[in-house]
Symmetry: C3
Subunit: 202 residues, 3 copies
């Protein structure tokens, strides 16, 4: 189940990367790099930080093929896809939920503390977009005021470890947490939830 969702997540992140890069007027190579980074940048950073090298996509080429497929599909159907923003947003949200869980699992595999696992989940799900924004020379959307995004991964991660205390089967726990993250993100967008921006009085 999670494998299928992972495939959907990578595929959709690649497509959203293509559309973002075309809007930045990058050339065809630049568009590919942005698609790749958006889809696999978070997982790659996670692997580098925990020492899981050669990083994941170097050992499982299916990820690379998936991005190449997403790249060509997105390029050929770009005018059409642009009108499917709502569907893309839904898949992107699924990716958010699934990638968070995958990051948490990698942390558990490496015997890391829950706090670190939650950080790894959040990095996996959200830092691809952050690297994409750095490459496009923008202050990362992730760090600016907007509907909450990374914070939902953190809250979802906390829920995962709370449920785990109750000896829930891991696969059920993963499903519940993913659905929680997805539902929370949909609600956040619908109700325009955002974190405050502070000011300093001088």
């Amino acid at each position: 189940m999670i494998e299928i969702l992972d495939i959907i997540g990578v595929f959709v992140f690649a497509i959203s990367g293509v559309l973002a890069a075309i809007n930045k007027k990058l050339d065809l190579f630049g568009v590919f790099i942005i698609a790749f980074v958006t889809a696999l940048g978070g997982g790659t950073l996670r692997d580098v930080l925990i020492g899981r090298t050669p990083v994941g996509w170097m050992q499982d080429l299916n990820y690379v093929y998936l991005i190449i497929a997403g790249y060509f599909i997105a390029i050929f159907f770009r005018n059409y896809l642009n009108k499917l923003r709502l569907s893309l947003f839904l898949f992107d949200t699924i990716g958010l939920g699934v990638f968070t869980l995958i990051g948490i699992e990698k942390g558990l595999e490496y015997g890391l503390h829950p706090v670190i696992c939650i950080a790894l989940g959040t990095i996996t799900a959200t830092f691809g977009g952050l690297i994409r924004d750095i490459l496009c020379n923008e202050i990362p959307l992730l760090l600016r005021k907007g509907t909450i995004y990374a914070t939902i991964c953190i809250i979802g991660g906390v829920l995962f470890f709370i449920l785990r205390k109750f000896n829930l089967q891991d696969s059920i726990n993963e499903l519940v947490t993913s659905l929680f993250i997805i539902a929370f993100r949909l609600a956040a967008v619908k109700y325009k939830m955002s974190l405050p921006v502070l000011t300093i009085k001088s």
Copy 2:
């Protein structure tokens, strides 16, 4: 001794990250990431480059808790802290001296050449700020004209290895080098020392 200074360094770098991020109008998640990166980005890059993975803060959660504490303290007392710029500058300078030594030590542990150890010390002490500036979409302060900063770490590192030739006890050597870096930095700011910017005649 160095452990206590390390704690002070991480704590103060986190606070200065919070203040910088608030000035960039990031949201509460963005502020946390900038605090984290400012405090631990340099050490994290060092660990990745030498293959010390999972990187340091993943194996010693005290660093994470320290940053979380610094984050909340800086947020609650942000108006007050902003007036304490001088004290913060002093602590930041202590961090510079201590982080350089910690980086050098990690290099020695891995049996690396003094030149590389000095590079690692400089990366540990100064590249957190460089990554922070990249995330905030600015040309890193570190690379631009300003009172000398990273160069002091390099000179301090050279001093460390010269003193080492004289069979000084490592702990005394570390203390002397740290104090040298701190004093040099204070003098650099007082006397506005800076490196030249070159021009090309065409």
Copy 3:
């Protein structure tokens, strides 16, 4: 043979980094960092991704000395070098060909799939410039419309693995592929070949 070309490549990339950094009005430390990153950033990223740590230049100091030499030469002769743009461009092109092959070889050493080896060759040859542009706060030249560059490394890499099927001796194969990349790049500049930039109809 390839060792000599590697030396030329690192040296010339360092010089081109110095000239670029002076134009961005960085100070002497900033200029050094940009020279370093332009010359070794691609190989460093490659080593981190495949887990070859401590990264290459930490284990072979000749690279560091080479960059220090290139740094001082470029600074002292900067007015003169600026008029040698054509010669520098030729050496830079040699670097492109050689670095691609070095990256491919590292991938083969680690037993990675040809597709990944080609990616590693491209990263080695071109991502130093990409990191340089990020540090200088520009959208990387590599991703924008311009005469094709990284794409040539990819095509060269494909050629390498096709020739390999014919049981060519590796050293001859390397020579042929490097020359192909160099000739292709020269032709690309002469005939102003570039990849298209797409648009989206809304």
